[in-house]
C-alpha cells in the first residue's frame, strides 16, 4: 500500500506546490493482466508494466496486438462490452481500479481520454469543454468560464476559437476538433490522459501541433498514447512498449526501443521489416 504522502503529491493541485516530492515510476502499474472477450477469447496475456508519472508512454505494435485494449482497460472503457473478463490487476497510484469500492465514474473523472476519431459533442465549443464539469454537477458560470479559458490555452486552441466559443464545435477543422477533444479531456483536471491514436485522422501539420501539445502536457499529466505511427511514438514518448499478439514483447526507454532494441521482433517492427 502506498504512502499517503505520495498520494497527495499526485493530485494536480498539490503537485504544483510540492514539486520536490519525487514522481512515481509506477504510477500506473499493470500486474499479471489477462483479458478475455466473450469470456474465452484471450486478447492480453500476462502483462506486467509500470508507467511512470508525468511522462509520455507509447504503446506500439501491429493491429490487433492488444495495445488499444490495454489502454481502454486503464479507464475501464471496456466495461461497455458484454462478455469481457479479466485476470490480474491494474493499479493507479497504488490503488486497484477494479476495487469494488471505486466507482467507475469517479475513476473516469480522474482519467481524460482522447479518441482516434475526434468526437466533439453536437454542442458549442464552450459546452464541449465544460461537459465534464456539468455532469459532475458544477454549473457556476465564473468557474466554467475559467475552466474553458484555461483548457483552451493548455490545448493551444484559445487564440483560434476565443471569438466563437458559443458556436458549434463542428465548425472547426479536423485538427482543431482533436485539440478541442484534448481540451475537453483536461478540463476537469485529470491525472492521466489516455490517447488512442489521436492523430491517425489528421494531416501532418495538425499532427505536429498535437505532438507539440503532448510534449507540453506531460509537464502536468501522465500520458499514455497508442499509436500506429512509429515516428510519432519516437518523437513524443519517453518510454515505449511494443506489443505483439497480446503479449508485451519489449518495454524500455523510447531511445532504447528505437536505437537498440533487445528483441528481434521489436527490431523488425520499428525498422518496418515486420511480417
Amino acid at each position: 500500500m502506498p504512502d499517503p504522502a505520495i498520494k497527495t503529491a499526485v493530485t494536480p493541485q498539490a503537485s504544483v506546490t510540492t514539486s520536490d516530492v519525487p514522481l512515481r515510476a509506477d504510477y500506473i502499474s499493470v500486474r499479471n493482466f489477462n483479458f478475455f472477450y466473450n469470456g474465452v477469447h484471450q486478447v492480453l496475456f500476462d502483462l506486467n508494466l509500470d508507467i511512470p508519472e508525468r511522462q509520455v508512454t507509447a504503446f506500439i505494435g501491429p493491429s490487433g496486438c492488444g495495445k488499444s485494449t490495454l489502454l481502454r482497460n486503464i479507464n475501464r472503457m471496456n466495461d461497455l462490452i458484454d462478455g469481457i473478463r479479466h485476470e490480474g490487476d491494474i493499479f493507479i497510484d497504488g490503488h486497484s481500479i477494479f476495487d469494488p469500492d471505486i466507482e467507475v465514474i469517479s475513476l473516469r473523472k480522474r482519467i481524460g481520454m482522447v479518441f482516434q476519431k475526434s468526437n466533439p459533442f453536437p454542442k458549442s465549443i464552450y459546452e464541449n469543454i465544460v461537459y465534464s464539469l456539468r455532469v459532475a454537477g458544477r454549473h457556476r458560470k465564473s468557474e466554467l468560464d475559467e475552466v474553458v479559458e484555461r483548457s483552451l490555452h493548455a490545448a493551444a486552441l484559445w487564440d483560434e476559437v476565443k471569438d466563437r466559443l458559443h458556436q458549434s464545435a463542428f465548425g472547426l477543422s479536423g485538427g482543431q476538433m482533436q485539440r478541442l477533444c484534448i481540451a475537453r479531456a483536461i478540463a476537469n483536471q485529470p491525472e492521466i490522459i489516455l490517447m488512442d491514436e489521436p492523430c491517425s485522422a489528421l494531416d501532418p501539420i495538425a499532427t505536429g501541433k498535437i505532438e507539440d501539445l503532448i510534449h507540453e502536457l506531460k509537464k502536468q499529466f501522465t500520458i499514455v498514447i497508442v499509436t500506429h505511427n512509429m515516428q510519432q511514438a519516437a518523437r513524443v514518448s519517453d518510454r515505449t512498449a511494443f506489443f505483439y499478439l497480446g503479449k508485451l514483447i519489449e518495454y524500455n526507454s523510447t531511445e532504447a526501443i528505437f536505437m537498440n532494441p533487445i528483441n528481434s521482433q521489436t527490431e523488425a517492427y520499428v525498422s518496418g521489416r515486420f511480417g
Binding site: M113, K117, N119, P120, P122, A201
Partner: protein, 397 residues
C-alpha cells in the same frame, strides 16, 4: 334583401349563443342535480341530512327552471322571427316558389359576379366548409367538429405514445442486455405493427372502456354509474387516443431505436470518458441527437393514427357530437366526451346517410381534407428527416 339576410344571421348567432352557452350551462347543472335527485329519490330510506339535501336540490332545480324558461322563450321567439318573412322567387321556367327567410344561408347571383368576387366566394365556401358545424344530418354545413376531434385525438395520442414509445426504445437499445429475450420483444413489436387495427379497437373496448373506465366510474362517479349513465365507462376521446397510442407505439419504438442507434459510438464513449453516467449521456447527448429521428417517428405515428377509423368506432367516435371535447364549461377539456372524426365522418356520410346522393360532395371534400392532412404529416416527417441528415452530414463521425 341583404339586410334581411344579415338580420337572419344575427338572429341565428343569437339563438346559438343562448342555446349553446347559457342554456347549455343550465342544462349541465340540471343534469348533475337531476342525477343526485334521482339517486336520493331511489333510496328506500333517507336520513335527515339526505332529505335536506334532496329538498335543497328541488329548490335549486326550481331556480334553474325559472332561469331556463325565459331563455327558452327568447330562443323560441327568435326562431319564430326567422320564419316570419318569406322570399318569393321565380325559376327560369316561370314557376314561382317561396321559402322562409330563416332557411336561407347564402344568397348570391352567380352570373352577376365578376372574377374577383367569384374567387372570394370560392374561398369563402372553403372556409365555411372547414369552420362550420354540420347541418341537416351532416349532409350540409361544415366539418369543423370532425377536424377538431381528429386533431384533439391525435394530440392526445401523441402525448400518450411519445413517453411510452421513447422509454421502451431507450430501454431496449441502451439498457437491456442484447439477447434472446430482447430479440423476442423486437419481433413482438414488429408483429404488433401488423395486427389489424380492429383488434386494437376490441382490445381498447375491453381494456380501456370496460375495465379501466368501469373502474374509474365505480370509484369516482358511483351515483352516475348506478343510474346507468357511465362517464368514463363508455367510449370517449381519451380511450380512443389511448387505443390509437397502442396501435402506433411500434412505429415510435422502431423509429426511436433507429435514431438512438444512429448516435455515434464516439460521442457516447467521449461522454463516458468525461465521467458521465449512462443516463447523463443519454439525457445530454443521445436524446438531443436522436430527437429529429424520434420526431420523424412520431409524425409518422400521427399520420397513421389520424387515418384510422375501425378501432375508433368501438371506443368513442360518433357521427354527430353535440359538443366539442374542449369548450368553455369547467373543466374545459372533457376527455370522457364522444367526438367526431374525419375518417368516421366519411364513412357515416357515404354509407349511413339517408340521402347518400346529396352527401356525395361532402364525402369527397372530407376525404380530400383527410388525405391532405395525412400527406402533410408525412411530408413533415420527410422534411424533418432531411433537415436532420443535412445537419449531421457534415460531421466527421
Amino acid at each position: 334583401m341583404n339586410s334581411q339576410l344579415a338580420q337572419v344571421h344575427e338572429r341565428r348567432r343569437e339563438i346559438h349563443r343562448i342555446e349553446r352557452n347559457q342554456i347549455g350551462r343550465i342544462n349541465e347543472q340540471m343534469r348533475r342535480l337531476d342525477l343526485d335527485r334521482r339517486y336520493l329519490e331511489n333510496l328506500s330510506e333517507r336520513t335527515v341530512a339526505q332529505q335536506m339535501q334532496l329538498d335543497r336540490i328541488h329548490e335549486r332545480i326550481a331556480v334553474l327552471q325559472s332561469d331556463f324558461e325565459p331563455l327558452a322563450a327568447q330562443a323560441a321567439a327568435l326562431r319564430r322571427q326567422l320564419v316570419e318573412n318569406r322570399l318569393e322567387y321565380s325559376l327560369a321556367t316561370g314557376q314561382v316558389r317561396s321559402i322562409t327567410v330563416g332557411d336561407l344561408v347564402h344568397v348570391y347571383a352567380p352570373n352577376q359576379l365578376h372574377f374577383l368576387q367569384r374567387v372570394v366566394l370560392f374561398f369563402q365556401h372553403i372556409w365555411s366548409f372547414l369552420s362550420e358545424y354540420p347541418r341537416e344530418a351532416n349532409t350540409e354545413g361544415g366539418i369543423w367538429p370532425a377536424i377538431f376531434g381528429t386533431f384533439i385525438m391525435t394530440v392526445l395520442m401523441s402525448a400518450a405514445v411519445t413517453p411510452f414509445g421513447v422509454m421502451a426504445a431507450i430501454y431496449l437499445r441502451e439498457y437491456a442486455r442484447q439477447g434472446l429475450f430482447v430479440r423476442a420483444v423486437r419481433i413482438a413489436i414488429n408483429n404488433l405493427a401488423g395486427v389489424p387495427s380492429i383488434v386494437f379497437g376490441i382490445f381498447g373496448l375491453g381494456f380501456f372502456v370496460y375495465f379501466m373506465g368501469g373502474n374509474i366510474d365505480r370509484i369516482f362517479f358511483p351515483r352516475a354509474t348506478e343510474m346507468g349513465t357511465p362517464t368514463f365507462g363508455t367510449g370517449g376521446v381519451l380511450w380512443a387516443s389511448l387505443t390509437l397510442a397502442l396501435l402506433t407505439v411500434p412505429v415510435v419504438i422502431v423509429a426511436t431505436e433507429e435514431a438512438l442507434a444512429a448516435v455515434s459510438r464516439g460521442v457516447r464513449e467521449g461522454s463516458l470518458a468525461c465521467g458521465a453516467s449512462k443516463w447523463q449521456t443519454i439525457q445530454y447527448l443521445v436524446l438531443p441527437a436522436a430527437a429529429p429521428g424520434i420526431l420523424t417517428g412520431l409524425v409518422l405515428a400521427m399520420a397513421r393514427g389520424a387515418g384510422e377509423v375501425a378501432p375508433l368506432i368501438l371506443v368513442g367516435v360518433v357521427a354527430f357530437a353535440p359538443s366539442l371535447p374542449v369548450d368553455g364549461l369547467f373543466p374545459f377539456i372533457h376527455l370522457e366526451r364522444k367526438f367526431m372524426h374525419l375518417g368516421f365522418h366519411i364513412y357515416d356520410l357515404g354509407f349511413q346517410s339517408p340521402d347518400s346522393e346529396a352527401a356525395q360532395p361532402m364525402v369527397f371534400a372530407t376525404t380530400l381534407i383527410l388525405i391532405l392532412l395525412v400527406v402533410a404529416l408525412n411530408l413533415a416527417a420527410i422534411l424533418i428527416r432531411n433537415r436532420l441528415r443535412r445537419r449531421y452530414a457534415s460531421q466527421a463521425f
